[in-house]
Symmetry: C2
Subunit: 96 residues, 2 copies
């Protein structure tokens, strides 16, 4: 899941979808890579559960999958909770 967001181009695509559903062509327009490349990135994002797609005539709309995004957020929230706790422990030991 984080592997999918480890690529800069894929993050750009993902961020573009933040403002709403987009077609593959639209996504490819704002990027310095070819349309097939965008398709491949979208597949990775889809397999990671971060986006979903639906037909719209000849086009194909991609949108952010809320469940996937929530899972990522929860992952880091858990990290944050635990790390913050350790951080406070350390601070408490220092100050006495």
């Amino acid at each position: 899941m984080l592997d999918a967001l480890g690529d800069a181009t894929r993050r750009s695509i993902f961020e573009s979808l933040k403002s709403g559903p987009r077609s593959v062509g639209e996504l490819a327009e704002g990027l310095p890579v070819s349309r097939p490349a965008v398709s491949q990135h979208l597949r990775v994002l889809k397999e990671a559960g971060l986006v979903s797609d639906s037909r719209d005539g000849t086009r194909r709309l991609y949108r952010i999958e809320p469940d996937g995004l929530l899972r990522v957020r929860d992952y880091f929230d858990g990290f944050w909770s635990e790390a913050l706790e350790r951080f406070r422990e350390a601070a408490r030991k220092e100050t006495g």
Copy 2:
């Protein structure tokens, strides 16, 4: 920053640090890679601002950098806020 967490081995290291500071050798013990490999990963994490280090005799302790972790969490929090808003908009249009 997310590039740094895009690697599975690096995520393992980062997760190991969740429970507190660890030396390079300790981190390498629980991983299927060599100790120098761990050092290289730690450098990437450090340059990303996700960990910090300090001397401890001949050893070197690495710990999670709260600021970096907070930045990652905020990034996804912003994503979540905006995506959730779009999601509600879409739901409102559907249901009427």
